[in-house]
Structures are given as structure tokens and as C-alpha cells.
Symmetry: D2
């Protein structure tokens, strides 16, 4: 069994990682950490995890424990202080924070407001989006998992850009996220009466996930490009839908565009590309580690419309982290992730 | 008092028109019609309208009654048979259906599947979006009110196009609507477990409101243009948000773009243009006849992002119909529409 | 015009009072107060109230302004310090807090944890539930409005108890409230992911509204009685439903029980008693100052089931406050309250 | 492997059974049936079940297939025609419909409107609520699983009645259910705008689950008793909360009442009895086969308040069916049911 420590396990992302590790056939959960909830039991904070009687320990204690795998779900800037030591102790690290996603430490400092304290690790960190590059993840010692927005946006945008059926310039990403993406800390924006029966854009063209999307889209394009990214807050707990608009290359019709996606993701265990005429809903991926994709083409204007639905806390966070850990550690990629989400 | 008949009053749009007419200081509701619910009382079908003891009569009976104003909220193709006679009897008509919105009868037939039976009236029908052209509505005998999608999309897109600060080509409209926009008839798509906790695109680049948006955007551009329009279904009863993406002209910065909207809608009783940095939510317009607009500019890619929030059944339907009737009949434009929506 | 000051206007209750005063034909809003949001404009905090450009002033300033009517929507214990001075200056007071509802100062101290600082005013304060006693309100200088739970519970329970068709002992009140009842301050319990897609009881048999319900139920019974009151939190913003269970007196059948309610509330402008077989929903009263009541009888066990639906922020708070002010000041009881809520 | 056929697999209950069978370590899904969706693939109707490429066959075909276990999730009255033949062929039957729950065929006819066509099987059918009687289920050939309302109501009521700490007379069950309990067929009541942001009672004291609750409560009481049962529809997809009110016996205090529940369910793998002061939410059981229980006592009136939260489609339907099948067939009782539900 692989001994696992989850750091930052009291937040939603960490609790979902906890849940998946508890159900993983090859993993054993040895510790969970939380600074704010240290001393409380998992099943007290999350009654859904009935039977898990581990108590949260402080982060600083958790990172010194013997473990084969340390999964971090602390906020950005809080992961990088721990990672070098954990790696030095020989554990594999899957980081669900933003700390090791950007390759350029200057970009990191610009968007997160502090210098990167472990910049030498950035080059070696694998970007944890298996369907767009699982080679780098297999055998990696440090995987930086993308968050929910980049996951859905990139799965929708990259195949067309890679296949050169659409321009990598002028890409528009209109993303809609459930409220759990904002985490467990109450705020005015996440107060039920504030966001229920409502939808609104926020941080239009200025969200922290934008440089990460650009970095990966540029890699696909082979040159530096920039996408316009506008997130919206939805009145649902879970679910994230990215609707991506790209200018299609001349001569590409609807069937050809669809075929690019169907071919690109053929055989992927966690991706469904719907037939033409069907668009995915976030409901159909809720609770599962899945990404469902729909393709349409506005042939009049030559605008390709690709939507990608994921569960923001599973394929968008915890499921992806486990999937990356599976790849890095040599498990079957789907181990611990085969449970179907609820049908409705 | 202006005697008003509401045709198609048992659907959501018609019931909201009924509600507003009941509260209008210069209007008297003389009849409401429904074929499917004929004989039932308004307060029985809609207990919120307690005290309104009118019973629904069949459409065919309602359109022959003496009235100064006939407001139609029947489905598309069901309004055009009645309108010529009603006009001939001397009543003014506000039509909330799609039947008189498109100027081109061939377009109508293409999108609605039947020939237009009153095509000679199309040229004279005023397009009922007062903030983008109230002159044509004042004194009109037939007003074709746009639906919720075109209202929000056009309020967001037209000012930039008119002012030539953005290209009229390549416009992308990503719209999100509450479920009440689908009307009162149950269906698989509107079944609570189907759409709750979910979001999805539908009729991507193929929705019936697309030609209407193009018609009005082309008028603003002074040439024929086409926008990509993708509607989404939201897990809320009311509210519609259009997020519009336009390629900005060179030399236009964020402040200049914002100023175009602030100036364009200065003094409008029902429109708020938020200061830079603030985007509207659908919650803040729920229940009121308002459109709230936010502006942002992605200066890296030159993409202008404009969001417009409305209540789909008020500014998107019934409120707009009353506003148009006010203009056409010489009432104060805000008569019957001054009640604030709930604060939360 | 009656000059009105709203104290505690930045919370949900105060903002709804603000909204209703703005639309009242005989009232003029002269000031709104908030300590936490002093200096901000109403339309900035509540964009739904577009056009209201008053800025919040501190409470201490607001209560010294010239006003004919001061409406307080501050939290419990925060109203009583202001009320004696405001009354002394000659203004009429409608208090939406709990401070003047209980007649017994010892009870107040027991449930609210502090001695009552204006206990001499308790005897003279009118209990502001017009349909169960409007005589005391007419001409009152101080009205203590009940909150949402007592309003719905008492409208459902009192008629049967008064008419002696049911026992005043063993009454069970199972109440379900939307989240806005918890106010505007974010908390773990009101965080969207906490309460969305969920329902739970809280403070079972120990809620602060319990003594107030008992006080009024005892008055109806003519002796001291106690009801079991269990509130629940619902995944909706607005709406409150009280389901009340009473043991029916022998010989009372379904029709007789229903007749008691229909007769008791006949002619009430804001109450609908549904015919047998129909139970009210909170949706049908949303946004209006209404209470809708349904009656059923379990003839096997002799249990009378009465449900009462209200909008917690209108009939449960702000609308009731305006209704009481209308009665106290000699306006038509329905002034400013005639707007219908949305049909859906 | 146990070969399983799911009859009525296209409805929500059947689809959840399908999902659980697909993940069961000892079961193999050999066929799924639907008359209305015959020919469609499971993954087409329920994209969440991606990878399940079985196509629905008609019921009449499914019941003739070789199977070790036939699980029925057809509507009431539709199961009884198939069961005798299926049993005769040697398969074990778990029936999630109401057809074999009532022991008294006359009662069945009274509530379901048709004579029972297989009444001779009623006496031998085990009532499938393991925590209140798993002995009868072990080894049974026909298990009649209770639905969501009786499951939650009985888990909350029976321990107090069995232990004689509360009267079996005058029990009140106020139950709140998510909309998925109404099934997959759209209707006016389940139309999103009808039930969103709303709560209402329905079939007060006249619901079909009432005789079933009475039957089991009477068994616990040792005499014929009747509980008042009032279901409510909640604006959530899943979740069911039963709030049960019982008159406590003299001398029983809060701790004693709580101890009865804690002792009764000690060691149960799927039940948590919360400590005093904590009440369960439906969110915490969503997606898992769990029942969470909270206990409070109104010591003034001697009213015991017990709430029980379940996921209506798991512990209320499909999970319970699998749990019963496990018991009947000799699997570990928790086989296929160990996956945790989402934490939020």
C-alpha cells in the first residue's frame, strides 16, 4: 500500500482528495492536516466521511510524517514552503495549489504577489493534465495539477489548436463555475442569498488562471498566444462548463472539427466526446472524474464552439490529483476513480 | 383608462403582463385569454395574483372584445393570425411573440417553418427595444417586442458597434438564461432534476433568436453582419445574462470603451452602467424592468467584454411590453414599472 | 407626506423596508442608517434599488433626525437603546427587531441574554400582526412586529385555538425557512455549498422565537400553553412555510375545520385560505405581502394540519412593518403594498 | 459473479440501481429494461454512466432472461405481474416498487386502486429495511424494499416506540423530499420554475406511503397504530429529511432518549446517530447509502423530536435494494456500497 498524507485536507479540495484516497484500492491514508481545524475529526467536519476517525494535525506536523505520497490542497503560496523538504524526504508530491503550475517564476510573482521560494523546482514539475500530456506525469516526483478552469478550458481549446484547425489567436473562454470552486470559507460573494438565483461574471480578463491557460495554449500553438478568459459564478454547488470560441481555419466544416476532438480523445477513460448535436451538461459529470465535450460550428462566421463540462472538485481538482498520482506511481490510471457519479 | 386585453395570459410571459397591467395606473384589464386554461380563474392558476378573479376566455373570443390595447403573449406563429383583425378594429397591438420581429418574411419562414400570413405588416411594425430606438415606438400601432436574448445581447453589443469602437464582425454572444424562459409547459429539459445543479449550452449557433440579433446588429453596423450566439440554460428560475465579446478598434482603451456605454445610456430610467470593475448579476435585476451593464477590456488581445443582466420575464418580456405600450400610447414611459424588485 | 427614517437599512430586512417605503404613496424616505456601511449609497449596496442615492448614515445620527416614523431593522438588543428617545421626540416607531415583542422583561433577559433597558415600554407596545389583532395597532406609537416564524406559525395555529376546535396543548410547529431569514452576514451555515441541496433542522425546541409564539398562543388559549417549535433551513433564498399540527376537538370534521379558517380570514386583503385539497407553496407568495393557508385533517388520528406560506422578508418582516405603520398612522392598510409579486 | 437484471432501469431509481450494480464487486449486470426507452443505450440516456453500452430491452424480454437476481424499479402495480414467474425461474427478486410492501391485500387495493394479482406472495415477502429487521431478509427470495419516506420515517420513529420511551399514538411525521423522488417523468409539479425557490406540503394525511408506515410502526408497537404523515416537496434534487414528533414517556430525559437511538443503531455500518446538539442535513448523506439521525427533546411539552436524513435515491431506494440483495444472497452487507458520497 502507498502511504498518503493529505495536507490542507479540511478545505473542499482536500476533503475530496481525502474521500478518494479512502476509497483507493492501493492507497492508505495515514494523516490529514489542517491548521484551522487541527484536533477535529474528519467525520465531525465532514459527516459524509462517516467512519474516518482520523483527526487533523497541523500542516507542519503532517509534512514530516513518513509517506510515499503527499497531496497538497493548501491555498496558493502555502504549498511551496513545504514541497522541497517533502521531496527531499523521498515522498512523491501532487500539488493541487497553483504554486508549481507556471514555469516562469516572474509570472508567478506578478499574479500571486510574492516571490517564488522554490523556483528551482518549477522546470521539473509536471503539469498534471493527463489527457493533454501524460508522458511527463508518469514517473514524475512533483506534479502540479491544474485547477478546474484551466482543465476544462484546455481540454476544449487545445485539440483544435494542436491540429491547426483553428487559430490560436483571439480565443475566447467563457467559463461558468459552481460555488464550491470558491472554497469552504464563507464570504459575501458565496453567501447563499448572494449567489442563489443569480449569475455574474467576475474578474473578467483578469483572473489568476489566465496566465496558466496562456502558458499551455502557447505550448500547443508553438508560440506565445493569449486567450480572453471570463469566469462566471453559477448558482450550483458543483460543476464547471467552459464554452470556448475559436476562429476556424478555412475549409474546416462541422464534421471535420468534430472528428478532431473525437480522434484526439479516442480511448480516453475519462473523456466523452458527444456526437454532433449534443452538448454536455455539468449534471452528467457531477461526482465523477469525467470531462464531457461537445462541438458545434457556426459556419456563417467560422466560429468553432466547444464546450467542456467537468465536476470542478473531481476532474477539476481531487480526481485529477489522484489520476496524476496513479500515473506517477505506476497504478492503473483509473484506480480509485471508477465509481460512477450519481445519475441525477 | 386604457382598456387592455392580454391574449395568451396563462403562460409565464402573459401572466407577468397580466401582473403589470393590474398594477398600471392608467390601464384596466378587461380580459385575459387562454385556450388550454379557458374557464379557470387567474388567481386559481396564479395564486400570486390573488384578487384577480377574471376567468380566461379562449383567444378567439378575446381578440374580438373592445379594447384600446391588445397584448399578445402566445407562441410564435400563433400571433400573426389575430393581429390584422385586431388592428383593423382600432386597437393598438404589442406582440411579445416572434411573429413581427423579422423584417424579412423569407427569414421568418426559414426559422419558424411556416409562411408569414401577415407579411404586409412587417415593414410597419416597430421593434420594441426602446433604449435602442424609442422614436419608432412612439405612436406605433404595432410593436414587436424582442425576447429576452436579443434584448440583453443587443443592449450589450450595439453601443460599441454604433460608436465604431469595435468591429461588427466576429461578435460572440454567450448568453445564460433562467429556466422560466422556456415557458410553462413541462419538458424533459425543464424537469427540476434535469436542470438543477447543471448548466449546458443548447442550440449552439442555431437558435431562432440569432437572425433577429443579426438584423438589429446589422442595422447598427450599417451593413449585414452575423454574430455567433450560444444560449445556455442556468439552474435559476429567472434572470438572463449576456456576455458579449467584441474586437475593439485600435486606440480604444478601457476608459474609452466604458465611456461609450455610460454616455449611450445616460439618463435611461431602466439602465444602469456599472463603474469599471463591477459586473452586474442577474439577482440585482430580478423582478424589476432593468438592464444592468458592465464593461471590461482585455487589453492584451483587444477583446471588449460587455455583460448585460436582465430579468428575462420583465425587461426581457412583460416589462418591455408595458414600456413599449406606454411609449406608443403616450403614457409616461415608466408608468406601471416603477416598483423596485426585491433586494435579494 | 410622512417622513420616514429606516434604522438598520443595510441588512436584508432594512433594505426591504427601504424598498417598500420608496414605493409608498404617502411616505418619503428621509434617511437610512447603517453603522457598518455608513457612507455607501443605497444603490451601490443594493443595485436593485437603482436611483436611490441616499447614503447610509450611522444609527446614532439617524435617530436624531426629524421624522414622523422611525422603522428599526437592527438586530435584537440593538433597538431598545434608541426607542425611548425616538418616541420622546414624537416620532412613531415600528420595530422589526425582537426587543419589544415579549411582554415579560424576565423572559426577554432569559432568551436574549441581557436585561431589557426600556422595560417600561413593553406593556404599551402593540404586537404587530394585524390579522390577529389590528385594534391595538391602530393609533399605536410603538409597534413590535413579529418576525417570520411567529407570523406564519400564529396565522396557522391561532384560529383553531381561538375557536376551540383544537387543543392548545401539544401543538407542533414544523417550520421551513429560506436562507435570507438568517440575514446578510455570511457564515458557515449560510455558505452556498453548505445549504444548497440540503435541508436540516436547527435549534430544535430551543429557538428564540419560541417564547414569542407561546405568548401569543397563550393569549389565544386564555391560559399558558407551550408549542413545540422546530425550524428548518431550506435551500431557497426566500419563503417560509409553517406546518402546524394540532389535536382536533371531537366532532370537528374536515369541512368544519376549514370553515373556521375561511371565516376567520374572510375579507383580509393579504390572506388567502385555499379550498380544501390545495396547500400553498412559498413560491406563490414570494415578493408579496401575503399569507396563504391550507387546511387538512387526518381524521383517523384527529390531527389538524394547517400550513401557512409567507415571504419571510415581506409578510414576515418588511411588508408587515409597513402594514403596521399604515394602521398606526391612518393610511389605508394596503398602501404601498398592492404590487403583486412575480408569478413564478 | 451474480448475474443481475434490472427491470425498469431507465427511471431514476432503476438508473441508480444500475449504477450501483455496475460498481458491485460480486455482481454482473446482464440486462436492463425499459419499455419507453427500449433500444437506447444506458450511456446515451445517462451520460454519467459512460462506458455502459447495454441497450434497454422491453420488460417482458428482460424478465425471461437467465439471472440470479432480478431487481425491479417499475412503478407500483407494474411489478406484481412479473414477480411470480421470475421467482419460479429461480431468480431472487428485490422489488423497489410498492407491490409487496403491504401485507394486507385489501389495503393494497384500497391505496393502489387495483386488486393484487400475486397476493399469495405477500406473506413471504421480506420487508427490506435491514436496520429494523435484517433477519427476515437474509436468505429471502423476495424482498420488498421500502421507499424513501418510510425508510426515513421508520428509522426515526421505531426505536423510541420499540423501547417504549414514547407513545405510539399521535406520532407526527413531517417529511421533506427532493424532487427526484417524483421520478423522471416531467409534470407541472416538477417543472423547474414550479418547485424551485419553493416548498409546499402535498397529499397531507393522504399519501400512499402512510399505510406502509402504519404497518411497520404497528409491528413495533405491538398493536395497531396510525401516524400522521405529511410529505413536502423541497427545491433540491436529492435528499429526504423526516422530522418525527413523539410524545415521550414520563421520566425520559434528553440523554435517555438519545441513548436509545445511539444504542439501537450502534455498529450499524450505514447509520450515524449524531451527538446531542447536532442535527443531520441531507447534504451530508447525499450520494451515500447512509441514514444520519439527530435527537432532541422539548422537555416542557414532553415532545421528542427525531430527524433522519437520507439520500432518497440511495438509502431511500437503490442503495437499500443492493443492501438487501447483499443480505439475501450472502454478500457482505456493505458490498458495492462503500464509496463515500461527495463531501459537499
Amino acid at each position: 500500500m502507498t502511504d498518503v498524507v493529505v495536507v490542507g485536507a479540511a478545505g473542499y479540495a482536500g476533503a475530496e482528495i481525502t474521500r478518494l484516497v479512502l476509497g483507493h484500492p492501493g492507497m492508505r491514508l495515514v494523516a490529514v492536516s489542517s491548521d484551522s481545524d487541527a484536533g477535529r475529526r474528519v467525520s465531525d467536519l465532514y459527516p459524509a466521511l462517516a467512519g474516518c476517525d482520523l483527526a487533523y494535525v497541523p500542516h507542519a506536523q503532517a509534512v514530516t510524517l513518513d509517506a510515499d505520497l503527499v497531496m497538497l490542497a493548501v491555498p496558493h503560496t502555502a504549498a511551496m514552503p513545504y514541497v522541497p523538504d517533502v521531496l527531499a524526504r523521498g515522498a512523491m508530491v501532487v500539488d493541487a495549489s497553483a504554486d508549481f503550475r507556471l514555469k516562469d517564476a516572474a509570472q508567478y510573482e506578478r499574479w500571486y504577489g510574492v516571490p517564488h521560494s522554490a523556483a528551482s523546482l518549477l522546470a521539473g514539475a509536471a503539469y498534471g493534465l493527463p489527457e493533454l500530456g501524460r508522458e511527463a506525469i508518469a514517473g514524475a516526483r512533483l506534479v502540479a495539477c491544474p485547477g478546474c478552469y484551466p482543465t476544462a478550458a484546455l481540454l476544449a481549446a487545445v485539440p483544435a489548436v494542436e491540429a491547426r484547425i483553428a487559430s490560436a489567436d483571439g480565443v475566447v473562454i467563457d467559463a461558468k463555475s459552481g460555488v464550491s470552486g470558491a472554497g469552504r470559507t464563507p464570504s459575501e460573494a458565496t453567501h447563499f442569498p448572494s449567489c442563489n438565483e443569480s449569475v455574474s461574471a467576475y474578474k473578467a480578463a483578469g483572473h489568476r488562471h489566465s496566465p496558466e491557460i496562456d502558458q499551455q495554449l502557447s505550448a500547443a500553438a508553438g508560440r506565445s498566444v493569449h486567450a480572453t478568459f471570463v469566469p462566471h459564478l453559477l448558482p450550483s454547488t458543483r460543476g464547471l462548463l467552459a464554452t470556448v470560441y475559436l476562429r476556424v481555419a478555412e475549409g474546416i466544416d462541422t464534421e471535420a472539427a468534430h472528428a478532431v476532438y473525437a480522434d484526439r480523445f479516442a480511448g480516453e477513460p475519462f473523456i466523452t466526446v458527444h456526437p454532433l448535436g449534443r452538448m454536455p451538461s455539468t449534471r452528467e459529470v457531477c461526482g465523477g472524474n469525467r470531462a464531457h465535450i461537445g462541438v458545434a460550428l457556426d459556419e456563417v462566421s467560422g466560429t468553432l464552439v466547444v464546450t467542456c463540462a467537468i465536476d470542478n472538485l473531481v476532474k477539476g481538482t481531487a480526481g485529477q490529483a489522484v489520476q496524476c498520482a496513479n500515473l506517477a506511481l505506476g497504478f492503473d490510471e483509473t484506480a480509485g476513480l471508477t465509481a460512477y457519479g450519481p445519475v441525477v
